[in-house]
Structures are given as structure tokens and as C-alpha cells.
């Protein structure tokens, strides 16, 4: 999962970036509204956390530009503007959620999680479950047939992405784009290694390889 964090307060952005990365998200950070408007439209983000009081271009204008360009990436507005009319205006501008500062980090992480699930059609679910697997996002473990299976950070990120996109064919470059932030070197061999690790832990047929196309999470082989 790759997130864009647009926040002009360096200290806050540092804290949030670190916290989000710990939860297995790849985070790109921008401070200027104009940069955000451009990069949010070009890069394939899974979710954007947007402050409203930005230098360059206000957050609401940035959001309006994205929505006008038919970019439907879920956006969570993170702002000090807490009045109800401003919240309504934010939602009307196309935000998917609205969190006011100051906030508890836990609250933000839960909202991000819920928004990601909702945008992939998993609404009203406390855990991410797909094809007989239940992902515990807090402890970064997966449950299969009542059995808890430990995952490394990289495996967790990969499995979460697969589970949110069940049945879709995902190319290696697509996976790399969504699992690593803009500054990490993308090595497709590393991805192959992680896929193999997952297969070893969950069963070979869980992820099928489509030659020349990529991978597809089927969930097959996991006893239902």
C-alpha cells in the first residue's frame, strides 16, 4: 500500500511517516500544495492524507483539481479546521474521510485502514478476510484454519495488497509501484522471493503465476 502524505509541518510529518511505515505502508511525503496536485495525479497512490492549510495551493483546491481530473484515489483530510461547516465542505469537495487535529495516532491509523478496506469493497469488517485467510493488521500475522502464521514485514505488505485485490492480475511493476515509496530501488527479484515465501507458508496455489502478465491471488489451496 503506497500512501501520499501532504503535510507542511515537518515534525508532524516525520512522526506520521515513521508510524505509517511501521504499519507496513510505503509513504511519500510532500509539503507544497502545487507539488501535491501534480504528484497525486501522476503516481498510483492507494490513499492520500491531505492537510488543508498548505503553502502554494490550499488543500481543498488540490482535492478539487484531482476530482476534476477524475482521480478517485481515496483522500483523508487531516486538518485543524474543525467546524462542521468546514467538514461538510471538505466532504463535498470529494474527501472520503475527515480527521481534525490534534488527533491520536491510533485513530488516524484505524481510519486509514478502514478507508483502504472500504475503497476495495470490504466495508463493515473488523478484520481483513479473504479466501479463508484472516489478516491481523495490528500484529502483522495471518490466520489460516485457526492457525496463526508469522509474517515478515515485506510478506505482510505483499499479502495485504494481494488480499485487497483478490482475483486481479497484478504485474510485478504494478506491485512494485504500490509496495515501495518513490525513493526505494525497485528490484523485481526481491518480489519473486517474497511471493515464494508466501507460497511456502500458505500453500502453492494461493498465488498463481500468469506468465508474462504477473501474479494473481486466488486463495485456492487454502482450506475454506
Amino acid at each position: 500500500m503506497r500512501l501520499l502524505l501532504v503535510e507542511d509541518n515537518v515534525a508532524l510529518a516525520d512522526e506520521l511517516s515513521a508510524g505509517l511505515q511501521k504499519l507496513g505502508y510505503a509513504v511519500d511525503w510532500l509539503t507544497d500544495g502545487r507539488d501535491a496536485a501534480y504528484q497525486g495525479a501522476v503516481e498510483p497512490y492507494d490513499l492520500i492524507i491531505l492537510d488543508l492549510g498548505l503553502p502554494g495551493l490550499s488543500g481543498l483546491e488540490v482535492l478539487a483539481q484531482w476530482r476534476a481530473a477524475a482521480i478517485s484515489t481515496p483522500v483523508l483530510i487531516l486538518t485543524a479546521r474543525s467546524s462542521w461547516s468546514e467538514r461538510i465542505d471538505g466532504l463535498k469537495a470529494g474527501a472520503d474521510d475527515y480527521l481534525t487535529k490534534p488527533f491520536h495516532q491510533e485513530e488516524l491509523y484505524l481510519r486509514v485502514q478502514a478507508l483502504l478496506r472500504r475503497s476495495h469493497g470490504f466495508s463493515n469488517q473488523s478484520d481483513l478476510s479473504a479466501a479463508g485467510l484472516r489478516l491481523d493488521e495490528a500484529r502483522q500475522m495471518v490466520h489460516s484454519q485457526g492457525q496463526a502464521i508469522e509474517l515478515t514485514g515485506a510478506e505482510f505488505r505483499l499479502l495485504r495488497y494481494f488480499m485487497l485485490h483478490q482475483g486481479q492480475v497484478l504485474s510485478k511493476s504494478h506491485l512494485a509501484e504500490h509496495l515501495y515509496d518513490g525513493e526505494t530501488e525497485r528490484d523485481s527479484n526481491v518480489l519473486e522471493v517474497h511471493v515464494n515465501h508466501l507460497r511456502r507458508k500458505l500453500g502453492r496455489a494461493v498465488i498463481e503465476t500468469r506468465r508474462g502478465q504477473g501474479y494473481r491471488f486466488t486463495g485456492a489451496g487454502v482450506p475454506q
Binding site: 509541518n9 508532524l12 492549510g53 485543524a80 474543525s82 462542521w84 475527515y98 495516532q105 463493515n124
Partner: protein, 439 residues
């Protein structure tokens, strides 16, 4: 209260009455004078014709009765004479048993003298010399029929005058009303302004009203701009204060601080207190109150957005409903209303088990907002404490906390009333009644 219409009517009526009385009285006086003059001439010629009717007969001077009028024969006819010479005194038969009042001097007497049968007499006394005898002739004429007809004329005149006065006043009322019509239109527009049915006054008014209307409009625009500016400033201030707070709060999650649970608990408590204080004060400062008369809140337009937001905040497990008459507009500023309703709903949703209902209705001049939930409610004994002025809701464990405190601030600013009641849904009902300032 001071009314232009009433003042105009009053002064015109006074003017008309004074002028009318003066004119009528002057007219009567002129006619009276003319008539008296005429009658005096008559009296004088009568006296002279009486004198010429005196003839020298066999027994001295005699009155030739053929030569004087028959009116002197009929009793109390109103025409009388007395002729005196050489200790003789002749009275006209018309005097009958009445003695003419004495006259002080020759010529006309200025005052009317009392005559028989309530007659009022004009008198003339002439002294002549004929047949070598001094002859004094006194003639009198009843003036009371003239006076009676004057009185009649006065009554008729007063009636006519009164009628004319009424007609004039009615006409004047119409004229004034027509002349003041633009003023009335402006008054109606200002009323609409206060009910939130318009945001500016119509510029199309007579020349005299133009400066007033222009000034009012300029003031409205200025107020709105000031409000927007101050809200923007407050938003920036909030941003500037809350972002560092957010940094501090996320620092609390650091392991170094987590290892000091006591310290981080105190920090967290104090940070939350600062946050609540800032939120409450900024919210209060953002309120426009009655500052913008043209502002309004369109229920059907705004409530769906608000409910969508509430739904999103509280997850879609609660059943939320709102009832408001179609086209209902509340004559208050949109942000104020959203803030009040948002906090009320948010609060109700925190405590509700499954449903929250909002209803807005007009009761006479007031607008009442009811919010019901099916949560645990507030015990009757605690309600008073919650409602008491100045009680720090945000520090109490009553539950319906900060949100209700902000709502109370808003209700106080708008000079409304807030009541906590039992809800038919089983939980708490918060009822707020607001009155527009124009009512």
C-alpha cells in the same frame, strides 16, 4: 411609537380646525356688521318717516296713522317706536304693555337691548324740531331673528366644516400612504431580511431613500466580509495552534515517553484540556449570532450533507432520521446552525444504541429543534447540573460533554433556550427553541 402618518394627520387636522374656525368667525362678524349697518339705516329712515307722519291737527300735533306702517300696530311685531314731545309720550301699539328700555344717548345704541318675548332690540333715538316743538323719536327693531339665523348658519357651517375636515383627512391619509409606499416596501424588505428571505435590499427606490438603502446594503456586505475575514483568521489561528498540539500528541506515542506512563498521562491530559479549550473558544468566536440579518439555513439543502458526514463519522450502524417541513428555512447563519446541529447529533450518536432522530419545526414565531436518541439518557437529578450556567461540562463525567457545552454557547449567543427531556425513543431529548430577533 413615532409615526410619520400620525404626525401628518394630527398637524393637518389642527391646522384645518384653527383656520376653519377663524375664517367662519370672521365671515360671521363681517356679515353681522353689514346687517347692523343696513338696519341702522332702516331705523333712521323709519324715524324720519315717523317724523314726517306728524301733522299739525286741530288739537296740536297728531300722528297720521296712514303714514306709518302697519307693523307698528301688531303687538310684539318687532318694530316699535316712542315719540316724545311736550310731556307727551306716544308709544306704538306693537309695544303693548312693554316698556322699551331707556337709551343713554342720541343716535344708535351700540348694544342690543332686551325686548319683549326674548327679542333683542337694535335702537335708534333721534331728536328733531318740528312745528317749533322738540320731538324725540325712538325706534327699535328686533334683531333676534338674524341672530337665530346666524346660530343656524354656525351649526350648518360647523357640520359642513367637520365633513370637509374628515374628507380632507381621509384624502390626506391616502396621499401620505401613497407617498410613503416606497418606505413601506423598504420596511417589508428589512423584515424579509431578518427572516432570512433576502440578503440585500432592492436598489430601485425613490431618490430620497437611495442613500439609506445603499448604506444598509453596504453595511450588510461589510458585515459579511468582516465575518468571513475573522473566520478565516480564526481558522488560521486554530491551524497554528492545533498542528503543534498534534505533533506533541503524536510524540506521546514514542517509546521514550511510553516508558514513563505517569508523565505521559499528565501530558496527555493537559494537551487534551488545551485542545478542548481552543476548540470551544474558537467555535464561540466563529459564531455570527445576529450579526448577519440576511443569512438563513435551508434545512432541505444542508441537512443531507450533515447527515452524510455524521453517518461517516459514526459508522453506518445507527439509523439517523430528520424531519422538517418542506422548504423550511431558519433565519440564522449556516455555519452557526451546522455547528449547533452537528454537535448535537454527534453527541446523540455517541450515546445512542441504534437510532437518532432530528426534528425541526416552527412553533409560532419560534423555531424548535428536537434531537432524540435511544441511549441511556441523563438522570433527572443530573440534568440541572448539566444545564447550569458556567458549569464545566467538559470536565464532568456526565457524558454528554464538550459537544453539549458548545451547543449551549451557541444557544446563548442566539438567545434561545435549551432543555433536556425524556425522549420517546427512551434516551435523552435535547430541545432547543430559538426566536428570530425581529419577532
Amino acid at each position: 411609537m413615532h409615526s410619520i402618518q400620525r404626525q401628518l394627520t394630527f398637524s393637518l387636522a389642527m391646522l384645518l380646525i384653527v383656520m376653519g374656525l377663524l375664517l367662519a368667525q370672521a365671515g360671521l362678524w363681517i356679515v353681522d356688521r353689514g346687517l347692523r349697518q343696513h338696519m341702522q339705516d332702516n331705523l333712521q329712515s323709519q324715524a324720519e318717516s315717523l317724523l314726517s307722519a306728524l301733522v299739525k291737527g286741530t288739537e296740536g300735533i297728531e300722528l297720521n296713522s296712514r303714514h306709518h306702517d302697519a307693523v307698528f300696530l301688531k303687538p310684539f311685531s318687532g318694530h316699535y317706536f316712542i315719540i316724545e314731545f311736550n310731556q307727551q309720550r306716544w308709544r306704538s301699539r306693537s309695544l303693548w304693555d312693554f316698556e322699551l328700555p331707556s337709551v343713554e344717548h342720541l343716535g344708535f345704541s351700540e348694544q342690543l337691548k332686551p325686548g319683549p318675548e326674548q327679542q333683542q332690540l337694535l335702537m335708534y333715538q333721534g331728536a328733531y324740531r318740528r312745528y317749533t316743538t322738540d320731538i324725540k323719536v325712538t325706534v327699535a327693531h328686533d334683531y333676534s331673528p338674524v341672530l337665530a339665523s346666524f346660530k343656524q348658519a354656525q351649526i350648518i357651517g360647523a357640520g359642513l366644516g367637520l365633513l370637509a375636515l374628515l374628507l380632507t383627512l381621509l384624502l390626506q391619509r391616502q396621499l401620505v400612504r401613497r407617498a410613503l409606499k416606497p418606505l413601506e416596501q423598504t420596511r417589508v424588505q428589512i423584515e424579509q431580511l431578518q427572516q432570512g428571505q433576502r440578503s440585500l435590499l432592492e436598489q430601485d427606490t425613490p431618490l430620497e431613500l437611495q442613500p439609506l438603502v445603499r448604506q444598509v446594503n453596504r453595511l450588510l456586505v461589510h458585515t459579511e466580509e468582516t465575518l468571513q475575514r475573522s473566520r478565516k483568521g480564526l481558522g488560521n489561528l486554530g491551524h497554528a495552534l492545533k498542528t503543534p498540539l498534534a505533533v506533541l500528541m503524536s510524540l506521546l506515542q514514542r517509546e521514550e515517553l511510553q516508558r514513563q506512563p505517569e508523565l505521559s498521562a499528565i501530558l496527555q491530559e493537559q494537551l487534551e484540556f488545551i485542545e478542548q479549550r481552543i476548540t470551544r473558544e474558537l467555535t464561540r468566536a466563529r459564531l455570527s449570532g445576529e450579526a448577519l440579518p440576511g443569512a438563513f439555513f435551508d434545512c432541505a439543502e444542508e441537512l443531507p450533507g450533515l447527515f452524510q458526514l455524521i453517518n461517516r463519522v459514526h459508522g453506518e450502524v445507527l439509523t439517523l432520521d430528520w424531519h422538517a417541513a418542506a422548504g423550511l428555512r431558519l433565519p440564522w447563519e449556516r455555519d452557526d446552525m451546522l455547528e449547533m446541529l452537528g454537535n448535537l447529533l454527534d453527541n446523540a450518536c455517541k450515546w445512542a444504541d441504534s437510532r437518532v432522530e432530528l426534528s425541526i419545526e416552527q412553533r409560532g414565531a419560534a423555531y424548535c429543534v428536537c434531537i432524540d436518541d435511544d441511549g441511556p439518557g441523563i438522570a433527572e437529578s443530573q440534568r440541572e447540573q448539566v444545564q447550569r450556567r458556567g458549569s464545566r461540562l467538559d470536565e464532568q463525567s456526565v457524558g454528554h460533554g464538550l459537544g453539549l457545552g458548545i451547543v449551549r454557547d451557541i444557544v446563548e449567543t442566539l438567545q434561545g433556550t435549551l432543555q433536556l427531556l425524556d425522549s420517546p425513543l427512551g434516551g435523552l431529548r435535547v430541545e432547543i427553541c430559538l426566536r428570530p430577533c425581529s419577532a
